[in-house]
Amino acid sequence: MNWFYESGGSQQGPVSEADLDRLLAEGKITGDTLVWREGMAGWTPHRVARAAQAAAAPDPDYEVTRPATPIGQSPVAATSPFSPGTGATTPASAAGGSETPQPGWIQCSYTGRYFPPSEIIYIEGRAYSAAAKPQVLAILTSGQVLPDISADRDGPPWEHRERLGVWRALVETVKLVLLQPAQCFASMRRQGLVSALLFWLLTGGIGMVVGQIYGLAFQGAMLSALKSSGAASTQFNPMLAMQAAFGISSVVLVPVFYGIILFVQAGLTHLMLMALKAANQPFETTFRVMAYGFGATGTLHLIPICGSMVAGLWGLVAICMGLGPAQNTTTGKSVAAVLLPLLVCCIAVAGVYALIIGAVVAGASSRGR
């Protein structure tokens, strides 16, 4: 049955019940928003209308998948397939979900079951299924805190590469980080350096190698253009040979070099989080955010000319968005932790540059006297 709702002083709709739930989840309407549908005497606050509806006709889906835990507590531990003491498995269906992970399905933060993406909505960065609708609605309308699944974080898809296959897990993780960084890091597993480092090597590491090759190809093209125009000598030049050798070796070394930088940058960021009293999780978590963030955005290096700049910028944005939910801290503190070390480095580089220029100018003027 379709609903109408009030927004900005005017009537909106009709929308389906699922759409009304989505609007509530997205914060576009609240429990106080006036709603109406056929059969109702008049416009009523949403929370009152839905409470009356739930009392009159319980949702059959809810009865099927209802976890035996009270509202406000996470039922995930009791129903998660990764938890000990899981009961008998039930067959998978789109509406009822599956107890076991299915390819491409997402774990509901309330029931712990897996559902296709079409059955999932995101609230505060966490995934909830349509099957958990009555409980989640009740929690939202009563102003309680939604269940926290932090103990059962198991994303991103790269962590399930054995099940999904390496290529699919890689592509899905890159898509998730690039397009929905906050959601991705809100469900990210918090432990495990090796898995995240491997992801970074296969995405950002390779992206940087390709970026380096683009640079070398550009240098080669420039040199041949200069030679053909007669601006450069066609004889063997040891400096150019050395430069070429350095360039080729840097292609091999760039993943090692940037891998070290990744650890250093994660360390500096984590130190900043500690200084801001925002490091609520260990260093591993910060490193994982940076490895997944810079890894996925590192694939943008594959775009010639402007790819590196876009990769750097979007990498910073993704990490700023991701550190908050991963470390359980505010956006402001995560942004400060990421940007302050960069600003300090920038100021230091500019200062050194200014000193060098100053020294050169002073030297030139003293020689002139």
Partner: protein, 136 residues
Amino acid sequence: MQWRHLRPGELDHEGLWLAITLSLFFMGWMLIHFGVPLPPCLWHQMTGLPCPGCGGTRCARAIVAGSLGTAFKMNPFVFISLAVVVLYDIYAATVLFFRLPRLRFAEVPEWLGLWTRIGVAVLFAANWAWLMIARR
């Protein structure tokens, strides 16, 4: 479109984008102030034609120098983008400082999203064409 306060745990877009854009402005200002040489445009060097961002640095320098007309001529798209960012930053700083409700868009109609994307793409292409004609 509605004005509402952030929910607990919700991403603070205003704080995030204000901090990032201000940091970028600061870094850009430092580069210009200290006269740090920037790498040449690879696209321009390879093809002889300006890239869509060519003139962006000169646009920023002109803005810092206060000559807005010159800045616009250097790269209109970059100039308009910077103006939009400045307006957004003013809004973000205001709602953050006074703890005001935030602007959040309810359902954006599909046609509006589509035409916005087309509009930006047309502006981008027109800007590039203008740059190529002007710098020929």
